[in-house]
C-alpha cells in the first residue's frame, strides 16, 4: 500500500480526507503518525459538533508532545472512531483505515477540491525535508 493513497485528499497540516457517500472521513497521514511516534491518547470532538475548515477540532497526544488536528473541511461531526479511546495505537499501525478519527457531514463540498492530491502532498513533504 502506498504511503499516500491516491484516493485520498490531503491538507498541509497532514490530515487526510476520504469522501464516502454523504460524509467525509478524516484521519492523519503516515508522515504525521511517524513524527508523533506512539500515540497515547486522542481527544475527539463530540458528535454533533460544528467544525470549520482550518480550525483545530481534535488533539492527538504522544509521550513527548500533543498536537492539534485541524478540520480539512467545514461541516458537522456525525461519527467518531470510538475504538481510538481504548486503542489509540491504531493511528500508528493503520493511519488510513482503522485509525480514522471522525466523519464530517460537509457544509460546503467545494472545500474538498481545495485540498491536495497525493502527488502534491508528497511533493510538499519532499520540499520541506530539503
Amino acid at each position: 500500500m502506498l504511503s499516500y493513497p491516491r484516493n485520498l485528499k490531503y491538507s498541509k497540516t497532514h490530515e487526510w480526507a476520504r469522501k464516502e457517500d454523504k460524509k467525509v472521513v478524516v484521519g492523519i497521514t503516515e508522515y504525521a503518525q511517524k513524527e508523533l511516534s506512539d500515540v497515547v491518547f486522542v481527544e475527539l470532538p463530540p458528535v454533533g459538533q460544528e467544525v470549520k475548515k482550518g480550525r483545530a477540532c481534535a488533539v492527538v497526544e504522544s509521550v513527548k508532545a500533543a498536537f492539534d488536528i485541524y478540520a480539512p473541511i467545514s461541516g458537522k461531526v456525525v461519527e467518531i472512531n470510538r475504538q481510538l479511546e481504548t486503542n489509540p495505537a491504531l493511528i500508528n499501525t493503520s493511519p488510513y483505515r482503522e485509525g480514522w478519527f471522525f466523519a464530517i457531514e460537509p457544509s460546503n463540498l467545494a472545500e474538498l477540491s481545495e485540498l491536495f492530491d497525493s502527488e502534491k502532498y508528497e511533493g510538499l513533504l519532499h520540499e520541506s525535508a530539503n
Binding site: 509521550v63 489509540p88 495505537a89
Partner: protein
C-alpha cells in the same frame, strides 16, 4: 544442583526473583494497629464531639491511609533515598540547570527556629530580622545585575517570566500602546520563554539564529516593529555563547519602543564579568536554585526574583520591602501594581538560603564562581572535542553543546549515551536541547567540580564512544546496573495509574 530445563519454570523463577526485588509502596507495608504516638491524649467526650461536627457535615468516606511504626517509616524513606542520584552523591552536568554544590550552612540557617517559626502575618515589629534579610538580598541582586529594583515574590523562574510578561503588558498599556501583542524569542530559547509569553496572551515570533549560533540581526530587524512588546533573551545563550552584539540588539529594540527581557538561567557565567542591566535589559529574572546554590529538592522549591529598571518599578507585585530610617516594612501601597502572583511574600526559605550564600562568598567569591565555571566548561569541551562533534568552533562560557552525530552512524543516540552514563555513576547532561543542534548534549559542569571529576567524566565519555562503535547494544540497552531500566512510558501514558487506589483496582 537442580537444573531448570522447563522454559515455563524458568520464567516463573525469574518473575519470583523480580517480585522479590520490587519496590513496595508504603501502603503495601501498612498494617492496622501500628502507630506513631505524637499528639497529646485527647479529652474529647463523644457527645461534645457530635455537637461540634453535625452529621450533614461529617466525613463518611473511609480514607486508605498508611499505618506503620516509626522505625518502619524511617527505613522505607531512607531506602528510597538510596535510589536517587543527587548533587551530594553524583556529578550532574545538566546544561542550563547549574547543578552546583548546595552549602550546608544554608540549610542550617533555613532550619533555624528564629526563621521557621515566623508566621507571615506577624506584626512588622516582630519580624525585622527577616525583613532586613529580604531588603539586603534585594540590594545585592541589584548590585549583581545592574537593575534598579527586585521583587522577591516569584516562586520559580517560570513564574518570574510570567510576571515579566504581565509587567511588559502593563507598561505598554500605560503608554496607550495596545497594539504591542508580539514577543520575539530566538529559536535556541528555552521552552518556558515562549510558553510564558503565550500563556499571558502574547503571540510568539521565533527568529532563526545565524551560523555563529547568535541572534541574527537582520532577522531581528525584520521581525521587530510597532507590534513588538518584548524580546526575550538569555546571555550567554543556550549554546553557552555570549551574544556579543547585545548593544546593537538593545539599541534596535528600544528604538522601536520594545522592551528587553533577560532569562537569568545562565547567570552563572556572568557574575563579576558583565551585568544584564548594563546590557540594556529592562526586566531580568534570576534562578536562585541555579546560580545562587539553593537546592533543587527533587524538582523544587526554587525562587525566581524579578528585577526591573526604574520606569517599570511601579508595576511590581505587592508588597515590596522598604526601609525607613533603621526600620523595615512591607509596602502594599502600589496603585499601578499588577497584583500578586503568589500568596505571602515568596519562597522565604529559599531567599534566606541565597542570602546566606551571597554573604558567605562576598564579592571575591562571587567573581570566582563564574571564572571557575568558565574554566571548567572550556576544559571539558577541549577534552571531548574530536570524539564528539562540537558544532561551534569557539570558546564557550559556563556551558557548551556537543552532538552525538558521530555516534548516530552506529545507531546510538544522545538519549542512549545519557542512560549509559548512569551506569558509571554520572547523571546525564541535558539532551535534545537546544533544538537547533542535532542530537544535542548540553554540558554545564559548574565551578564546584574538581579537575579529577572532569577528567573521570571525559574518560567515561570516551569509553562510551568506544562502546558505541564496538558493542552498541551495551549503550542502547543501558542502564544495566540500576534497579530499573528503560520504563515503558507509552503504557504509562495510555493507561495512567496515578494512585494506590488505581493500582489495586487494576489488579482486581
Amino acid at each position: 544442583m537442580n537444573v531448570i530445563t522447563d522454559l515455563g519454570e524458568k520464567k516463573r523463577v525469574m518473575e519470583k526473583q523480580i517480585a522479590g526485588r520490587e519496590s513496595k509502596l508504603i501502603f503495601e507495608k501498612s498494617r492496622p494497629g501500628k502507630r506513631v504516638h505524637l499528639t497529646p491524649k485527647s479529652k474529647i467526650s463523644q457527645s461534645v464531639k457530635r455537637e461540634w461536627i453535625p452529621s450533614v457535615l461529617e466525613r463518611k468516606r473511609e480514607a486508605l491511609l498508611p499505618e506503620l511504626s516509626e522505625p518502619e517509616i524511617v527505613r522505607h524513606f531512607l531506602n528510597l533515598s538510596q535510589k536517587n542520584f543527587s548533587v551530594d552523591t553524583n556529578f550532574y552536568p545538566l546544561g542550563s540547570c547549574t547543578m552546583k554544590y548546595n552549602p550546608k550552612i544554608n540549610e542550617d540557617m533555613a532550619a533555624h527556629p528564629s526563621f521557621t517559626n515566623l508566621h507571615p502575618y506577624q506584626p512588622e515589629e516582630t519580624v525585622q530580622g527577616i525583613l532586613r534579610i529580604f531588603y539586603d538580598l534585594e540590594q545585592w541582586l541589584i548590585a549583581l545585575t545592574g537593575m534598579d529594583r527586585f521583587s522577591l515574590q516569584p516562586a520559580a523562574g517560570a513564574q518570574g517570566e510570567l510576571l515579566g510578561m504581565m509587567i511588559a503588558r502593563a507598561f505598554h498599556r500605560s503608554n496607550g500602546d495596545t497594539k504591542r501583542r508580539k514577543v520575539i524569542v530566538p529559536d535556541s530559547s528555552h521552552g518556558t520563554n515562549p510558553a510564558s509569553a503565550a500563556l499571558y496572551g502574547f503571540e510568539v515570533v521565533t527568529i532563526k539564529s545565524n551560523e555563529r549560533g547568535r541572534v541574527d540581526l537582520n532577522e531581528l530587524a525584520r521581525a521587530t516593529n510597532e507590534e513588538t512588546a518584548c524580546l526575550m533573551l538569555t546571555n550567554p545563550n543556550t549554546l553557552g555563547l555570549f551574544e556579543d552584539e547585545i548593544i546593537e540588539i538593545q539599541k534596535m529594540l528600544h528604538q522601536k519602543g520594545s522592551l528587553l527581557y533577560y532569562d537569568g538561567a545562565n547567570m552563572n557565567a556572568l557574575l563579576g564579568i558583565a551585568r544584564p542591566g548594563d546590557m540594556g535589559f529592562d526586566i531580568v529574572h534570576l534562578n536562585l536554585h541555579k546560580t545562587f546554590s539553593t537546592p533543587h529538592g527533587g524538582g523544587g522549591p526554587g525562587a525566581g526574583p524579578l528585577g526591573v529598571k526604574k520606569r517599570l518599578e511601579k508595576f511590581l507585585p505587592v508588597p515590596l520591602v522598604e526601609k525607613k530610617g533603621d526600620k523595615y516594612f512591607l509596602n502594599g501601597q502600589l496603585p499601578a501594581s499588577i497584583g500578586k502572583v503568589k500568596s505571602f511574600y515568596g519562597n522565604s526559605g529559599v531567599l534566606l538560603r541565597a542570602y546566606t550564600y551571597i554573604r558567605k562568598l562576598g564579592i571575591d567569591g562571587l567573581c570566582q564562581v563564574s571564572r571557575d565555571a568558565i574554566i571548567n566548561a572550556n576544559y571539558l569541551r577541549k577534552k571531548l572535542n574530536g570524539t564528539f562533534v562540537i558544532p561551534y568552533p569557539e570558546f564557550c562560557m559556563h556551558e557548551f553543546v556537543a552532538s552525538a552525530e558521530a555516534q548516530n552512524s552506529f545507531g546510538v543516540h544522545a538519549s542512549d549515551i545519557a542512560k549509559r552514563l548512569l551506569d558509571f555513576g554520572f547523571y546525564a547532561p541535558t539532551v535534545y536541547f537546544p533544538l537547533i543542534v542535532k542530537e544535542a548534549i548540553m554540558i554545564e559542569p559548574t565551578e564546584t567540580e574538581s579537575r579529577e571529576t572532569l577528567d573521570q567524566f571525559a574518560k567515561v565519555m570516551h569509553e562510551i564512544d568506544r562502546e558505541a562503535r564496538e558493542c552498541p547494544e551495551t549503550v542502547k540497552l543501558a542502564p544495566h546496573t540500576l534497579p530499573v531500566s528503560r520504563p515503558d512510558e507509552v503504557a504509562a501514558a495510555r493507561n495512567p495509574i496515578l494512585t494506590y487506589r488505581d493500582l489495586i483496582s487494576q489488579k482486581s
